[in-house]
Symmetry: C2
Subunit: 278 residues, 2 copies
Amino acid sequence: MNPSSEPTILNGATGTLFIIGGHEDKAGPMTILRRFVAAAGGAAARIVVITTASAIPDAMAAMYAAVFPQIGVASFTALEVASRTQANDPATIATCNQATGILLSGGEQIRLTVELGGTQLEDAIKQRYLAGAVVAGTSAGASALGETTILDGAASFEVLREDISLGAGLDLVNNLLIDQHFDQRLRIYRLLSVLALNPGLLAVGIDEDTAMVVSPDGCAEIIGSGAVTIVDGRFVTYTNLPSVDPGQPISITGLTLHILTDGHNFDLNTRTPIIPTT
Amino acid sequence: MNPSSEPTILNGATGTLFIIGGHEDKAGPMTILRRFVAAAGGAAARIVVITTASAIPDAMAAMYAAVFPQIGVASFTALEVASRTQANDPATIATCNQATGILLSGGEQIRLTVELGGTQLEDAIKQRYLAGAVVAGTSAGASALGETTILDGAASFEVLREDISLGAGLDLVNNLLIDQHFDQRLRIYRLLSVLALNPGLLAVGIDEDTAMVVSPDGCAEIIGSGAVTIVDGRFVTYTNLPSVDPGQPISITGLTLHILTDGHNFDLNTRTPIIPTT
């Protein structure tokens, strides 16, 4: 949890993360999906979509099976892993192990944490990332990329002392609290409520059709049509949270807020935006 | 606009401001209205409510005429000023001049700026404040207390380059951009959009049934059931706003965010929260 002692990027990682806020464009320029494919090897990319988060995995698989060939992908496989048994199946692991690009679909975070947590597939995804593959998550899949993921908690309109369920994520990036569909579902207050409980985290709220592309050097580029809202709790000077009753508004002071759009970069190592020089 | 050269509190002011986020409780403990009355002299208070902002001034006047006697006010007058003629009427000014507590009701900011701007009543309110009276504004009346007031602009769900209409407020406090019904109407993105255009301002978003009580020394105490969201643009390091098309999301980095609830204090001179010592 201490950013000074633990780097954001996993030790030895050589892959790239695409943290996508959901509803990435699939009918227009498909900017985010094209960047994902390019990073995964372009025409040589072997794309695997994992539909575990989704309650409608067949439809999810069919959607991506239709989209990826349109942007030059020759090798596409959907892994409709819906149980821990499947997540430990050697055939599943073999499919994951040949991927150059892995996409965790949307749905509900809890399916990912419950069905993949501690399985061989979870480990295989991490090993592929460490070895240089591109791992993307969109919507619920994005939230689950971190160590800790928000499982539920209604969108509140205030910063409250709340019982927001957190779960163990896939642990592909340290100290990052990820939320998605961020502006569309008005989640800023929920994110701040969680950050108040965990001020050592860096909270990122990613809008729909928007992504953070995280390089092995810890630089995150924002791409897409929306914005990424970044809240840094390191310099919080005070909160009264421990003495506030559940459900009541809290005080918190000294948060740092950045909002970044397409083409802008953020250094996750130092937690500072990279200011364009032109 | 430069906080280092212009103090937030008007030069020589000895009065108190109550900046109320709207819907202050009028049926329960009435904490905010009681504090307003106490500050205005308690049983000796002479309360004047100015209903200019409201489209239903008779109903507004009747509501406050029913409430204030319940909390010990013997002298209550509603000034249903609906025109500049009335705002320059000697009888109106005489009523204002005997007030120890003035409350600007809710409604629409534009009525206040259009009907009171540059009138003798506007000047009389300021003179009463300078001389030690309590001036309160709730909802639209709160927004209009500043030099600059947000006249309209829909609640957006992103920080956009927007054409949000600003108007000249009653100028009772410097460098403060005030918004109200803040969490209930999801105005944080609108406030940030305005702040991006005017980073020298201190933006305060006040929830319903919540108030900032601003003393002549520049200390603001938060009271009531909600929170005050304070965004300081002084340390903004970058924005791409000038090169963004209207209606599109912008980047802005280095905002400072504080959220304060009942009993907490903020020093408007230094723009720092006062951290409780216990």
